[in-house]
């Protein structure tokens, strides 16, 4: 596996085909800017560290958008 200058982004093709969000089981979107996998349905981003995606729910960060303040939507999803 070739290590580019932005090491975090290089996850293998086979992984991207099978990875889904651990909480909602929906497909993930790779965001190169923040070097993370984003789950749009619940608005959480999971970091990728040195090419290893960390999909433990505890590591996920709620995405703060400009118009809505940080919502605890993911909290409600997890505490169902």
């Amino acid at each position: 596996m070739v290590r580019g200058s932005r090491v975090g982004v290089e996850i293998s093709k086979s992984l991207t085909q099978i990875l889904v969000c651990p909480l909602s089981k929906q497909p993930l979107r790779l965001c190169e800017k923040s070097n993370s996998l984003i789950s749009d349905t619940i608005g959480v981003s999971f970091p990728i560290v040195e090419g290893i995606p960390c999909l433990v729910p505890r590591d996920g960060e709620i995405i703060e958008t400009e118009d809505t303040p940080s919502d605890r939507k993911a909290d409600e999803t997890t505490q169902e």
Binding site: I11, S12, S14, L15, Q17, I18, L19, V20, C21, P22, L23, K25, P27, L28, I42, V44, P47, V49, E50, G51, I52, P53, C54, L55, V56, P57, R58, D59, G60, E61, I62, E64, S70, R72, A74, D75, T77, T78, Q79, E80
Partner: protein, 469 residues
Amino acid sequence: MYRPNGNLVRSFVRRSFCTVADGNLDTSKVQIFDRHLKRKQRDRAAWLLNRKDSLVNTVADNLVDRLEDVKKTFPSALCLGGSLEAIRRSVGGRGGIEKLIMMDSSYDMVKLCKDAEKDLSSDNIETSFMVADEEFLPVKESSVDLVISCLGLHWTNDLPGAMIQSRLALKPDGLFLAAIFGGETLKELRIACTIAHMEREGGVSPRISPLAQVRDAGNLLTRAGFTLPGVDVDEYQVRYNSALELIEHLRAMGETNALVNRVKFLKKDTALAAAAVYESMFAAEDGTIPATFQVIYMTGWREHESQQKAKRRGSATVSFKDIQKEFGVTAAAVDNLTGSLCSTCTPLCSSPPSTAKPPPSPPAVTFKPLPSPPAVPSRPPPSPKPVHKAPPPPRFYYFDSPLDVVPPPPTYISSGGSGNNHGPPSPRFVYFPSTQPAGGGGPGGFGQNSYPYPYPYYMYDSKAASWSA
């Protein structure tokens, strides 16, 4: 080292995480294990990892060996956490694995496997690495052929849920292989800890986690929806020079206590007392102490049309009466037939035909093959009964609510000299000698009426038993 939970960034940017910082992820109704602590313990285990650990290597080898019993090949495999590194070393091309995804909840463990990958690159197996939780499996449905978990699932809060998610991740006709620790694991340590704790502190707290029993393993597999379930058990006895070495080994495997309601400190006195009790009760002649590890291997398949199934209820074309007419000429055959197979027979069936009559001509029905028996979870083979016909061994009750549990009456007490009268004891029994051991009484009321332990009181008689099994 950069930690994935954003500690570095948190001081600069206020971010919110999708779980509350202090609490656990509370989706499962029962919270037995502290998963966050388990991740940290596995981080430590990654640093203490011993590549020559015989127990872990044996279990991993045994598990991967099962792939060779199957004709099918598994091009893509997912390895759930546990002894990841040992599995990776044992796989070596068995089972036709081409793509291996290594998954663990601890980042350090995954990093270790990734760094070790270059030593194993001769295998031509394409490995990918990710960090994820077994209870929240981030794998798409029907995407892998094989799921292996070696000694990892006994730390999940919701084991059926984890198994159901593994099943969903499997392609149809995919295989699920798991090895978990069973109820007999570390029973000596459990006994020693309890006794020492009672003596020193007057109460017990959970030190060993609740572990699955063998009889539950089959139920777990069927509950998760696996077809053709298979369970078997292996007991490994590992010898240590001292009790503290056992604890070191457990730390290196990442198997230390992570119960939610654990006592967060351990007094030095209690620890030393536990070690002393362990050595006095269980030491072998050469001074080494044994520890039992019972491993339950579970096998299950995702459903597929090619698998054998029980026929639909009511689709039988032959009744037992016809079988009797066809084959059951002698009284013995009829008795055997009706007694063992046909408990709801009418009395007419059970009367043996009189020998005066000529043998009946075969009936005109054409036989279709009998329905195959329904797929019940396969039972593990019954444990060998000891020669002296003692009652079945008691369960060890766990310590969540010792006051609620009524201990069963002491069912087996040997009348002294247990070795000579009753033959060699089974290694799972411990016997109660007729004389009270000197160290058994402690502060306050250890007499027969005020019995403090939640399980029947058996003392190990080192002269009688032998650990040669």
